[in-house]
Structures are given as C-alpha cells and as structure tokens.
Subunit: 242 residues, 2 copies
C-alpha cells in the first residue's frame, strides 16, 4: 500500500472554541444582560448542529470565566464576570514569560504616575493620618538608610492605591504585587542592591510625598512621584533592550 | 415527624473549586514552569481522594484559563497563560456593572497620564511622522470644531499606546476601547454633547501634544496631556459620587 500521510484528527478543541465564540455572539446579539436566563444545552446543540458534549464543554468554560452560572430550577443565567478574580487565577509570576513580567512592572510605574488626580480628589484627613503613621513607623525603624525596602514600599504605596478610591485599580495592584516582588528579587539576585540607587542627588522620600499630597497639587505630586520612582524608572528604561 | 431544616447538597461546585486551588498550589510548591508535564488525572484523583470527574472538571478549567494544555502522547503540560486573551473573553461592557465600567474608564485616564516616560524613551522619527499624518488628516477633515470626536481620539491615542512599546499595555488598551466607547456613548445619551466641553480657556489639541512629544520632556507632556484630557477628568471626578 502506498505510504499515506497521517490523517490528523479534527479535534474537539477547535469545535468547542467555535461554540464558545458563537455563544458569546448570541448573548450580545440578543442584548442579554446579567440575570437573564439562557437557552438549554440541548437547544444550543440543536441550533448549532453539534453534540451536547461540545456545548456542555463550551458552557463549562463560560462558567469557569464567571460569565454564566447555574441556578436551581432556573437553568443557566448570565452573570456579571469578576474581571479581577479571573486575572488572579492566572497571574502567577513563575508562569509568566520574561517580556510579560517586564511589561507588568512598567505598568505599575505607569499607574503610580497616572493616579495623582484621583488621590487629590479623594484625599481626606483620615487617610492622610494613616499615611502619616506609616511614614512615622518607617522613620522610627530605620535610621538613615536610603536604600529601597520592599515592605516599606508596599505599606506606603498600597495605601495610595487604596486612596484612589478605585476598587478595580486597587485589586489590580494587589494582584500585581507578587509580580513586582518577583521581578525585583530576580533583578537583585545578580545585581548588587546598591545598583538600585538614586541616580541624582535629590531623594524624594515617602515623607516628602506625603507632604506634597497634603500641600501640593496633582502636578507637583506627579513630579515628586517621578523622582521617588527614579531608580525603578532607570531600571525599567535601562533593561529595555528596546 | 418534626419539621427539619432542608439538607443542602454539598455541591460538586465547591469541590471542584477546592481541587482547582489545590492543583495551582501543587504546581507552585513543586516549582513547575511552563513546558513541565503534570501528573495524570487519575493520580491527582487518588492523591486528593476525589473522583476523576472532579479532577477532570478542575483541569478543564485550568485549560480554559490557558494554564495547562494537552499534548499528544505527553499528557498535560503547564503553559504560559495569555493574560490578555483571558481578559478579552470577559470584557464585554454590556455584562459589566456600573461601578466596574466607571473604574475602567478612570483606569484609562491613569494610563494615559502615566505613560509619558515610556513615550519619550521610545519615540523615533518614524512614529512621530505617523502621528503627524494622523494629526494632519484630522485637521483636514474638520475645520474648527473643538468638540470631542471618538474616532480621532482612537487613532491618535491608539498610536501613543503603540509607541509605549509595551505590548501588554497596548493590548490592554485595545480591550478597554469598547468599554470607553460604551461609557462615553452611555454618558452622552442623556447629556448634551456640549457638556463635554473644555472647562477653562486653554485647549490642548493633538497637534500640541505632538509638538510637546517632539520638543518637550515627560514632565511637560504630562501637563499637556492633563489639559487635553480635562473634559474626561471633569466627567470622571464629577460623576464620582464618592
């Protein structure tokens, strides 16, 4: 018999992909909103001309993504997806590639530079007092070291994110934290910690950022933050390989 | 017989949840990285003392999230998840709640304010020329209207994101675009378009942003961008209800 090329299986994978996409289109076209019931598995199977197994797998995916949920006696309904929860499950730095990690690190710098207006809009005495406590605690523990300390950064900057009054941003930051730590620790493994230094004379401390947040404007705060983040920017721009 | 409280079913849902979490912990503890093979369904079932069906569903979820994939003859292996693809599937503005939409809209403003340093780091003649063309085309089509136009915004700002040289940021923006459009159209449905006006005299156009990008510094660019985004900031801060 003539030697034949192997017949590749069609694969249910791609069919499930297609059904997933078609279901999403179907919801959209029918302008379904969270809370609306969706047709039964068997109805989808009949309409699409595919097996129930394929439809079931596609629906399971949508359930995994939090787009649909099963309700007792009501069948399946559309659900408002929790974008942060989805992100959380996949954002394990050990599984992300070098490029993605670098880009997420840059994203953090971008977010901190960009959120000034919202900090000024929402600042109140209570929050500023809490920041004051964080800064005072820092100053009490270390005497005069200017060097970057991860814990101090997290307490202070985490509070800033909280003050932005944007829950999505805040949760996003919570998720990105392990990424930052990972990138930071990875980078400093080979480098001397002192490489993470302030490139020019002026050092903008957390104390100075706090004062700017009390007395300044979004504009002066952005400039202060840029100076504060200087070593990280130097690092990000240096390792660009752009 | 005494009236008894209903015995609630344990639900396979929560068991699958637990198995999903345990599998993720298992990968982490064993420091598995993308490309590494993972144990078989049956082995997981035995170790965890649950049915194969439960393990299968948990693994299906991880496959949906892009964390594992099936390889011919190799069983399942860990995979580098595509964080953007995951985001893309759930980011349908019609399914997101009011609060989330508002927060994502703010996030856009934050990103555009924050990315200046990366634009200056990566700007080159080719990109600046392309921006020039976009601005020139704008100027040719509308004579002297200052009013906000969605298409023009997308062309110009989309190019800026591209110039940031951060693919994750860029894709993130692509995903957020429908959200912005949705929020914008929703807001202007009830409001007169003219409400989206520039609150004070000075108007920073795309042309002026481009000039700043050519001749200025990240700092002057941030200030120009803040003025350019003024109506959006006014809108975001006004509708805060904070």
């Amino acid at each position: 018999m003539k030697k034949l090329k192997k017949l590749e299986p069609l694969g249910t994978e791609s069919l499930v992909d297609k059904v997933e996409t078609r279901l999403l289109m179907f919801f959209k076209e029918n302008k379904l909103v969270p809370g609306d019931a969706i047709p039964k598995e068997i109805d989808f199977a009949t309409s699409l001309g595919v097996s129930r197994t394929v439809v079931r797998e596609a629906l399971l995916r949508l359930r995994t993504l939090g787009l649909v949920e099963s309700k007792k006696r009501r069948g399946m309904i559309l659900k408002q997806p929790d974008i942060i929860n989805n992100f959380a499950r996949i954002l394990d730095p050990t599984l992300l590639g070098e490029d993605t990690l670098k880009q997420l690190f840059e994203l953090r710098l971008i977010l901190e530079m960009g959120m000034a207006d919202f900090l000024f809009e929402n600042r109140n005495e209570e929050d500023l007092d809490e920041l004051e406590k964080i800064v005072a605690a820092e100053e009490a523990t270390d005497t005069h070291q200017i060097r970057f300390s991860l814990d101090k950064e997290i307490a202070f900057h985490g509070k800033l994110y909280q003050m932005s009054n944007n829950v999505t941003l805040q949760k996003f930051q919570d998720l990105l934290l392990p990424v930052f730590n990972y990138v930071y620790l990875k980078d400093t493994e080979n480098t001397n910690l002192d490489d993470y230094h302030y490139s020019e004379g002026e050092f903008v401390s957390h104390r100075m950022l706090l004062e700017t947040l009390r007395e300044g404007t979004p504009e002066t705060f952005r400039n202060a933050m840029r100076r504060h983040l200087e070593p990280h920017f130097d690092h990000a721009l240096k390792t660009g390989g752009r």
